[in-house]
């Protein structure tokens, strides 16, 4: 029930927002068309601005993934994962999630294919996927759009959020699905 409402909401949200904004602007006597075009002009510029930042970030992540360093890292981290009760099969997910969206999506599908979507590992891995965002992509794009390269504690804060998200996913799945 709640699920259906939420899904319906996500579909009607955009048309409703658009209609509301346009109607309100028209009532306030804003030259709607002119104003929209003036804003939309920035689209190209922003997209081009983020290219160098995104190239830098994705290439570094690409090198890291292609090199097989991930497998080595997973082996090194398995004992720690064992200690906190994280199944070894989902350790790559915890590592990959902040780095790449498409990569972790593929990994989630692979793991669920292997162990079944309704197994404990299947539920855990999809919860982990849903408990976080692709931190490095967000950092590159958002900071890139305003030319910020001294990011201070942004990486640390983002990674702490990721780690807590992964541990939270593990905890809730352990409690609910054993």
């Amino acid at each position: 029930m709640i699920k259906d409402i939420l899904q319906a909401l996500s579909i009607v949200a955009i048309p409703l927002i658009i209609a509301a904004f346009v109607a309100y602007a028209a009532r306030k006597k804003v030259p709607v068309y002119e104003s929209f075009v003036a804003g939309a002009k920035g689209g190209f510029e922003v997209a081009v601005k983020i290219i160098p930042y995104l190239v830098a970030m994705l290439v570094a992540i690409g090198i890291f993934r292609a090199s097989g360093a991930m497998e080595i890292l997973v082996k090194l981290l398995s004992p720690i994962a064992n200690l906190i009760g994280m199944p070894p099969q989902v350790v790559p997910m915890a590592l990959l999630r902040p780095l790449t969206g498409s990569g972790s999506l593929g990994l989630m599908a692979d793991i669920m294919k292997k162990y079944g979507p309704d197994s404990f590992i299947g539920i855990l891995v999809s919860t982990m996927y849903g408990s976080s965002e692709t931190t490095f992509y967000v950092l590159a794009v958002y900071f890139g759009s305003v030319n910020i390269y001294r990011t201070r504690h942004a990486v640390a804060a983002g990674l702490i959020a990721d780690a807590v998200g992964m541990l939270g996913a593990l905890m809730i799945c352990r409690i609910l699905f054993g």
């Binding site: 939309a40 292609a66 360093a69 990721d162």
Partner: protein, 318 residues
Amino acid sequence: MLNYVWIGLVLIGVLAAASTDIYDASTNRYKNGEPFELQYDSTGVGTGTISYSREYYDKFYGVQIDYPDTISYRAALAGNSINISTDEESPEIWKTVAKTDDNSKQITAKVLSRQGSEMTILLPTTSLVKTKAVLDAVISYSELAVKISLGLIGVMAFWLGIMKLAEDSGMIKIIARILKPVMVRVFPDIPPDHPAIGAMIMNMAANMLGLNNAATPLGLKAMEHLESLNPHKGTATNAMITFLAINTAGLTLIPATAIAIRAALGSKDPTIILMTSFFGAGLATIAGIAAAKILQRLKIYRIKDQPDDSTPESGGSN
């Protein structure tokens, strides 16, 4: 810190690739130069199937694979070379051999001898596997970055247009006013009626509803407003970092992608993760905000008085 992460990813990647390749070469993991024996059964002119037993493969490569007893593939003979079509399900080493050979699923091997259906072949020399993969990654990921960026232009323009409308009409201020009590606490540095607040709320709302297409443009609009309040160009402000920490936690009411994949894989209850991932991402959001607030007080993360500039060459190691 992004500097160090970047250096780390690149150097660890290259070193891992090089050491894996050196190790593989020293142990001759791909058995370069050693003849491989298999069965060739002709099914037509120049076409047929090859097959070998799992035992032979295991012994040849010194591995243990989880496979049916007999492994077979379609093959085509041409002169004294043979084209073997492998697939996604092929054993690891053969998949790697095929990929490194000519970046396809075909292995082109040399036929050394053929007597009846008994055939001996020489597989292509396979070396520098990881180094080649790294090289491919550099090119393909650079292209991907441009593709993603340019792919944003359309939706970006659309949402920036809508946002401009909302700003000109005063709608954004109204939205900002509703959530003022919360936003003032999370973003104390931003004046409560600044358009940045409205844009950030719009971005978070889009994220909550799972509208990824809208969330990024709205978030970038918010960044633009936040940047207008930034006295140190090129350096992130506290508000920006808090905002990004919230974004990287990815709190959403409907984790649509994960649910779709679960459904596609035949889950009996694909939406079972609604609650669990809301819990996980909720904790992540709280932790992200708390971490941003605590870390911004640390000495190493304080903004140093650097001349206003926006050229990366001038340094700054944070």
